[in-house]
């Protein structure tokens, strides 16, 4: 059997691929912001919060880390409506991605907080800063600088995992690929092209994050 590759359909498909890629970028942008914020709160809560909160965060982290993202997504999208929480696909995807990413980044941010020497907090308190100021202005920037590479990797991993949200009909890159291959009957070529788009997105995202991190957190961020 011989099979000849055919990329003739590509000319008419660039619009759909670009739209899908834009949705994927939107999803990961929202997830990055919400997930990072949630993980800072979670890591701080796990260290300084009341015992019950510490336990709850611990359980949340273990449950998310030990179950597949796809199952979490289905649980949120199909399962929650039966207890009255109905989300539209894009919101469900953003929620699932944020909750998933934060479970990993809580541990990462926590490691960063632990890496800041206690003398920093003591010095800041001695200078008369309030505890909240100490955390936001002194401890957090130093912690983020240490864990920035790990955070970057986690964001890229999450972007790649976002491919499965096509399963709840979010019109992102993989969903557009599914639609294209159903129309063109060129499944391999379609998925090959889209895989390369993902590869470019992940390389670009990593570059962007490293560059942005340098600007935001100062030199020495890799």
């Amino acid at each position: 059997m011989t099979y000849s590759l055919d990329f003739g359909w590509l000319a008419g498909a660039t619009g759909a691929i670009a739209r899908g890629a834009a949705t994927t970028i939107l999803l990961i942008a929202v997830t990055t912001l919400a997930g990072t914020l949630l993980s800072i709160l979670g890591a701080a809560g796990r260290r300084n919060g009341p015992l019950l909160l510490k336990r709850a965060i611990g359980v949340y982290v273990e449950v998310i880390r030990n179950t597949p993202f796809l199952v979490q997504l289905f649980f949120i999208f199909f399962g929650l409506p039966s207890i009255g929480v109905r989300l539209d696909p894009v919101l469900a995807a953003m929620l699932a991605m944020t909750l998933n990413m934060a479970a990993y980044t809580i541990e990462i941010v926590g490691a960063g907080l632990d890496a800041v020497p206690p003398g920093q907090t003591e010095a800041a308190l001695a200078l008369g800063l309030r505890p909240r100021q100490v955390f936001i202005k002194i401890v957090l920037p130093q912690a983020l600088k240490v864990i920035y590479p790990a955070l970057t990797s986690q964001i890229v991993i999450m972007m790649l995992e976002s491919a499965v949200v096509s399963q709840i009909a979010v019109r992102e890159l993989t969903y557009e690929a599914d639609m294209l291959q159903a129309r063109t009957f060129r499944a391999f070529e379609t998925y090959f092209v889209v895989t390369m788009v993902y590869l470019i997105l992940s390389i670009g995202l990593r570059r962007l994050l490293v560059g942005g991190g340098r600007r935001l957190l100062g030199a020495g961020v890799s």
């Binding site: 059997m1 099979y3 273990e62 449950v63 880390r65 030990n66 179950t67 597949p68 993202f69 796809l70 199952v71 979490q72 289905f74 649980f75 199909f78 399962g79 929650l80 409506p81 039966s82 207890i83 890229v156 790649l160 995992e161 976002s162 491919a163 499965v164 096509s166 399963q167 993989t174 690929a177 291959q181 499944a187 391999f188 998925y191 090959f192 889209v194 895989t195 993902y198 590869l199 992940s202 390389i203």
Partner: protein
């Protein structure tokens, strides 16, 4: 309509979980074998062999697993191979695992002091003997924790094979959900089964990590 009791649902899910376990094991063993080959290239003396392996690893770590599975599923038939979802799932996950395992183990090889190679050479061992007797045993032993950690990731990744039509836990749960209309219960149970499989391994990886840190 057939009525499903709670026990019917659980029994069917557990039966399907056997396939998840089997697929995870097959992919882990396959990934370890292919990963060893990638590792040999990755730490070879030849610059082009190293670059080839780096490219291979970057390709698999820079694209979604779902796309890799689709390319297996639709790509292999073009080479004239008849392919079932099972074959595509095992092959796809094997290559995926090989890239990650090779990179984990390379970290172990790189962490060894240069003197280990020199000592091996001074004992008159040739390259392969050095690797087999000195370098690899140490590299594997210091990377045991991330290797177990990756196994957890691999078990979770088998969920994606439901999308290319392999009848494992998640695909079965979709079918049960369509029959019972109890997504909360069904997906909750699926999450629980995955948790029971993964959590002990996660704890084991953590204890290995702590033991390594204490040393």
């Amino acid at each position: 309509m057939i009525e499903f009791t709670f026990w019917d649902i659980l029994r069917n899910l557990l039966l399907a979980a056997r396939w998840t376990v089997l697929l995870s094991l097959a992919a882990f063993v396959g990934g370890a074998v292919v990963g060893m080959i990638v590792l040999f290239f990755r730490i070879a003396k030849n610059k082009w062999a190293r670059r080839l392996a780096s490219g291979y690893i970057a390709l698999f770590q820079g694209t979604p697993l779902l796309m890799q599975l689709f390319l297996m599923f639709f790509g292999l038939p073009m080479l004239g191979l008849r392919i079932e979802p099972w074959t595509a799932a095992v092959l796809g996950l094997t290559f995926f695992a090989s890239a990650y395992l090779a990179e984990i183990w390379r970290g172990g090889v790189d962490a060894l002091p240069r003197g280990q190679w020199d000592a091996g050479a001074s004992l008159g061992l040739h390259y392969l003997q050095e690797l087999r007797l000195i370098i690899l045993p140490q590299a594997f032993s210091i990377t045991r924790a991330p290797t177990v950690g990756f196994l957890v990731q691999l078990i979770k990744s088998t969920a994606l094979t439901s999308i290319i039509g392999f009848e494992e836990l998640v695909r079965t749960s979709n079918a049960i959900n369509n029959a019972t209309f109890e997504p909360f219960k069904v997906y909750g149970l699926v999450a629980l089964i995955f948790f029971v499989m993964c959590f002990p391994l996660t704890q084991y990886a953590r204890s290995l990590e702590q033991r390594a840190a204490a040393r």
